[in-house]
């Protein structure tokens, strides 16, 4: 059955007010009403199965679309105590509706690399569920490099039990319209999460980095730093929310979004939110939008660095620090390489 375009979110939905999927989803987009076909490279000891599963783990409008169209779920199971150097690589997220369920057993540790690279003019709707059992740890690298015509919504729902660790690093170059959403339900004590990201957008590209962290237990630590760079007529959206419920005492949570506007025709929309019901917490957020520092630029030029190169160096320095703590150095180098490539273009 073809997808009914009217079931897509529009800007009348508060959570989608800056990312109007309905407005750019045309009938002729490849994959609009089809299941996608992801490709997995599994480390030894990790297994995968495909099963049709109507059970609803997730409840967003995009998730129910994925459920009704893709049907099947790709379930990747990481056994208890698993620990390997090789990452799980997910590719082929290029068109259509895709459901992935990643389950990490107790104390398992996994590194995941996701390549979000779409086909021209396609529609991608990824609905991913990640379950982190007690003491499990995941390092997630999201590399979003779509053609300018691609429409993508990628939503991840993470459930973290006691002592779980999340280290997430997202790099996005946007697309016709794209949204990378991360929703974390913190269910057990002493969870530590780093949710960093950067977006670099030119032309008329759009990316929306949205996150919602729901804290319901004490002693958890969240660090979120998102950096944005926009030029031309691009548009960057950041929506972040920490929801600290009453029992979540001693939450230590920090959210930052800092963006650089390299041209005044570009746009940034941001909405950092803290909703706090616990009384003994340390929560902070910061949000800045600025330009490159003119005096630093002059200083560099005075030393002989041409202005374009000076701008690129300062911009790279601005963005790069959100990736400082990636544990996989070659991967980190390739992320920085992509950033440099964008800056050189």
């Amino acid at each position: 059955m073809p997808l009914d375009l009217n079931t897509l979110p529009t800007r009348r939905d508060e959570a989608w007010k800056w990312t109007d999927v309905r407005a750019v989803a045309k009938e002729d987009r490849g994959g609009l009403s089809a299941a996608g076909l992801p490709k997995f490279t599994l480390p030894d000891g990790v297994s995968i199965s495909e099963a049709s599963d109507g059970a609803s783990q997730t409840d967003t409008p995009m998730a129910s679309l994925a459920r009704s169209i893709s049907g099947a779920v790709w379930t990747v199971t990481v056994p208890e105590g698993f620990n390997a150097k090789d990452p799980l690589v997910i590719e082929g997220l290029s068109r259509g509706h895709i459901r992935i369920h990643l389950v990490l057993g107790k104390g398992a540790s996994l590194s995941v690399i996701e390549h979000h690279a779409g086909d021209a003019s396609s529609f991608v709707n990824l609905d991913m569920v990640i379950d982190l059992s007690e003491g499990a740890s995941i390092e997630r690298a999201i590399i979003h490099d779509d053609p300018e015509s691609c429409l993508r919504v990628a939503t991840t729902h993470i459930t973290a039990w006691a002592g779980a660790k999340i280290n997430q690093y997202a790099l996005s170059f946007g697309g016709d319209l794209s949204r990378l959403e991360t929703r974390v339900a913190v269910m057990g004590k002493e969870v530590e999460a780093v949710l960093n990201g950067a977006y670099l957008l030119g032309a008329k590209r759009h990316v929306d980095m949205t996150s919602y962290i729901d804290l319901a237990v004490p002693h958890c630590t969240i660090r979120q730093a998102v950096k944005g760079v926009v030029k031309d007529k691009a548009r960057g959206v950041f929506q972040g929310k920490f929801h600290v419920r009453r029992p979540a005492q001693n939450t230590d949570a920090e959210m930052r979004h800092d963006a650089l506007m390299l041209s005044d025709t570009a746009e940034i929309r941001s909405k950092p939110e803290l909703e706090i019901y616990a009384d003994d917490v340390a929560c902070a957020h910061g949000n800045t939008i600025g330009q490159l520092d003119e005096s630093a630029l002059f200083y560099m030029r005075q030393r002989g660095i041409p202005v374009a190169q000076a701008r690129a160096l300062l911009t790279e320095a601005f963005v790069a620090d959100v990736f400082d703590d990636m544990s996989d150095e070659p991967l980190q180098e390739s992320v920085l390489g992509k950033i440099r490539e964008w800056l050189g273009a």
Partner: protein, 248 residues
């Protein structure tokens, strides 16, 4: 070497005239000092010479070895050999000092059609120089000037100057923030760079620096122009008597 002829310049979108008809010549091989009261326009002169945005030339001309400097972008002036040691050196977060300097050096070389300096030679040269200037090697790994004290920043300016080997040097209050030991180290470095092909303009508030770097001529900048000139002893007289006699 450097010829400034009847130079006028304004800041604040041309609203505020700072230099009005300044003329000065620094022949190759000479070191000239510029002294003057606070707010006289000494830093303004250094920015006009190096092409900073917001410092608008409203008249006159400046040439270096016969080439019109005012026509050039800041990076072109740097490649032509103009170096400014900043009164307030900038911090460049996220850019390691060595990366910054190697980029700068090779950009200048490229602009001049010279070959790049390769990493091993660069490292060797910078290590030797850091030792000479008594700089901690860690300083070179840190982002440029970030978290440095005032004195460390000034020393870093001299380090960059000696790495880049410019042929015309402007030093803007390099002595402020330096203790006597640091001052001596810096002065030794500067003196080593003195050569028949090189010219220097040393802007300072205090005569003290000129005990270590003895200038060929001393000028007073007041009222937007060179109000008086003399030899090295003139600096001592200025410090003793102040600038009141030259007020605009």
């Amino acid at each position: 070497m450097l010829k400034i002829n009847n130079l006028s310049a304004a800041v604040d979108d041309g609203q505020k005239q700072i230099l009005s008809g300044l003329s000065l010549e620094v022949p190759a091989g000479e070191v000239h000092a510029i002294m003057g009261p606070n707010g006289a326009g000494k830093s303004t002169l250094s920015y006009v010479l190096t092409g900073r945005d917001g410092y608008e030339v409203t008249g006159g001309d400046v040439s270096l070895n016969g080439k019109d400097l005012l026509e050039m972008d800041p990076e072109e002036r740097a490649a032509a050999g103009v170096f400014l040691s900043f009164q307030y050196p900038l911090e460049i977060p996220g850019v390691p000092t060595m990366t910054f300097l190697k980029t700068a050096l090779n950009a200048q070389r490229k602009a001049r059609g010279e070959e790049e300096m390769k990493a091993p030679e660069f490292l060797k040269k910078s290590r030797a120089l850091a030792a000479e200037l008594k700089m901690k090697p860690e300083m070179l790994k840190r982002p440029l000037n970030v978290g440095f004290s005032g004195g460390e920043k000034k020393r870093m300016e001299i380090f960059q100057m000696m790495m880049l080997e410019p042929n015309f040097i402007v030093m803007d209050e390099t002595d402020s923030g330096l203790d006597v030991d640091a001052l001596r180290i810096v002065a030794d470095g500067v003196n080593k760079l003195r050569s028949p092909e090189r010219g220097m303009l040393i802007i300072t508030h205090y005569q003290r620096l000129l005990d270590y770097i003895v200038p060929d001529a001393v000028h007073v900048l007041a009222g937007g122009k060179i109000a008086a000139s003399g030899d090295a002893d003139f600096a001592k007289k200025l410090e003793a008597e102040g600038y009141d006699a030259y007020a605009a």
